[in-house]
Amino acid sequence: MKKSLIVLLVGVLVACVARVGMAFDAGRDINVISREAGSGTRGAFIELMGIEAKTDEGTIDRTTVEAIIANGTDVVLASVANNPYAIGYISMGSLDERVKALKVDGVTPTQENIADGAYKVARPFNIAYKELSIVAQDFVDFIMSAQGQKIVSGSYIPVVEAESFTTNRPSGRIVVAGSTSVSPLMEKLQEAYAKLNPNATIEIQSSGSTAGMLGAIEGTCDIGMASRELSDAEKEQLTYLVMAQDGIAVIVNNDNPVDNVTSDQLRDIYVGDVTRWSL
C-alpha cells in the first residue's frame, strides 16, 4: 500500500518536472493575461495601448474575452512564470527575475527610460483628498519631500526635486485607502514617517483605485490612492497630486525567445487579433 502511494507521487512529480524540458513552440496560442475590470493597472494599460476605443456613446474596453483574468500582481507574475506561452502586464515596482520584461518599441523598461519618456507604458501614482487635517497635511508634505521621494526612488520614479522635510509632530489618525499597486509604496512611506512623527497613526486599506477615490469623495478615508489618471468627475471633486511615476512592464516567461514587441503588436494581442506566438 505504501509502495503504490510512493509510485503515484513520483509519477505526478515526474509529470510536473517533465514539462520544463520542452522547447518553446511558437505555433501555440498566446495565453493573454489581463487584470480585472476597475484595476488601475488595467485602466492605464488599455488607455496607453489604444485597447480602449472611443465610440459615440462613450468608451469601450476591447480586451479580448478570452483573456485570463488575474486578480492581483502576484497572480499575473506566478501565471507568467509558470506558463511559457503567457503574456501579462504588472507594475514595474513588482518586477523580479522569475519573468522577463519585454522591450516595447525597442525600449527597455528602466527607471531612466521612464523618467525621460522613452518608455511609453507608464502611469502616475496619484494621491487625492478633499480636505486635509493637520496631521494628514504633514504626511502629504512628507511624501512630496526629499526624504519621501527618496523612498519612492527605490522601485519607482520620483516626480519632484523637493526640499528636506521637517515636522512639528502633530498627532492624529489618518486613513489612506485605494490602489493595491500604490499600497506597498505607501506602507514604506508610512513606516519612514512614523519614525519622524510617532504621534500619528496611519491605517492603510488596499481596496483598489476606484474605491480609494470614492472613499476620498465620501469622506470614509482621508487620502485616496490611485494608480491611474483620475477621471474628470473625480478631478472635479478632489484635490490630487502625482506622487510617483510607475512603469507598466509587459512580461513573458523566461523560456520565451521573444524580446521585443511593438505597441501595435501588443494592442493586437490584447484585442485578440493576434493569437499565436509566431508574431
Binding site: M1, L9, D74, L77, P184, Q205
Partner: protein, 285 residues
Amino acid sequence: MGARLKFSIETARRYPLSFVLKVLVVGSALLTLGALFFLLAYIIVNGVPHLKPSLFAWKYNTKNVSLVPALLNTLIIVGIPLIVTVPLGVFSAIYLCEYAKKGSKVVEVVRITAETLSGIPSIVYGLFGLLFFVIYLRWGYSILAGSMTLSIMILPLIMRTAEEALLSIPTSLREASFALGAGKLRTVFRIVLPAAIPGILSGVILGIGRIVGETAALIYTAGTVPRIPGSVFSSGRTLAIHLYTLSSEGFHTNEAFATAVVLLIIVLLINALSAGLARRLGGGN
C-alpha cells in the same frame, strides 16, 4: 479489521463485484491521502526554507512582513465566534432533539433554515456582513463585524454536528435517567450532553478549521490592516487574509509560503488538541 484489507485471488474469483468494490474503496482512500500528502509536501518544501525569525517579530512592517499581529487577530476571530456560536448551536440542537415535539412546524423551519445557512457561500456571507454589520450597523471594517459574520457562518455546522451527536445517544440512557427520578434538564445536562461532547467537539474543530481558512467572508468585513487591534472595532487581518494580501502584490511569495506553513502547524495543533480533549472526555464516560 486488518483482514478486510487483504486482497486474495481466490475471493476475487468467487466474488468479483466485492473485489471491485474493495479496490475502489481502498483506491479512493489512497487518492485522498495522496492528494493531501502531495499538497502538504508542496507547501512544506516551498515554505520551510523561508521560515525566518523576522517573520515572528512583534510588529509588522513591510520589511519583515511579520505574521504575529495576524496570528493574534486569528485567535480573536476564532475565539469570538466560538463563544457566541457554540452555546447557541448546542442549545438549538438540544431544543430540536430533546424538547420539540415530533413533526412540529418550528422544528421543520429551523431545520430548513439551518440547512440554508450551511449552503450559503462564504462570499455571500461577506457581502451580507458588509451590508449589515459594516454599513448598516456602522461598525466599519472591524474585528467585531468579521467575527459576527463568521458566527452566523459556523452556526449550522455546530448545530448539525451537535444534533447528530445527540441523536446518536441511545434513548435507553435518557429513560434510565428518568427512571432514577432525574428531571428533563438534569438528564440533558448530566447524561445526554456529556455523552455527546466528542461529537460536539468534532463540530467545533470543523468550525475552527473553517474560520482559520476563511478569506472571502472576512476581506469585506474585518478588513486588511496588519496590526494588533486596539479594540474589537478596529480592523485586523487574520493569518489567511495576511497570506492573501502578501501574495497579491508580488513581493513576498516566499514569506507567503512560510506563513502557510505556520498556518498549517496551527491547524494541526488545534486538531490534535481537540482530538486529545475528545478522547479524554469520551473516556470519562
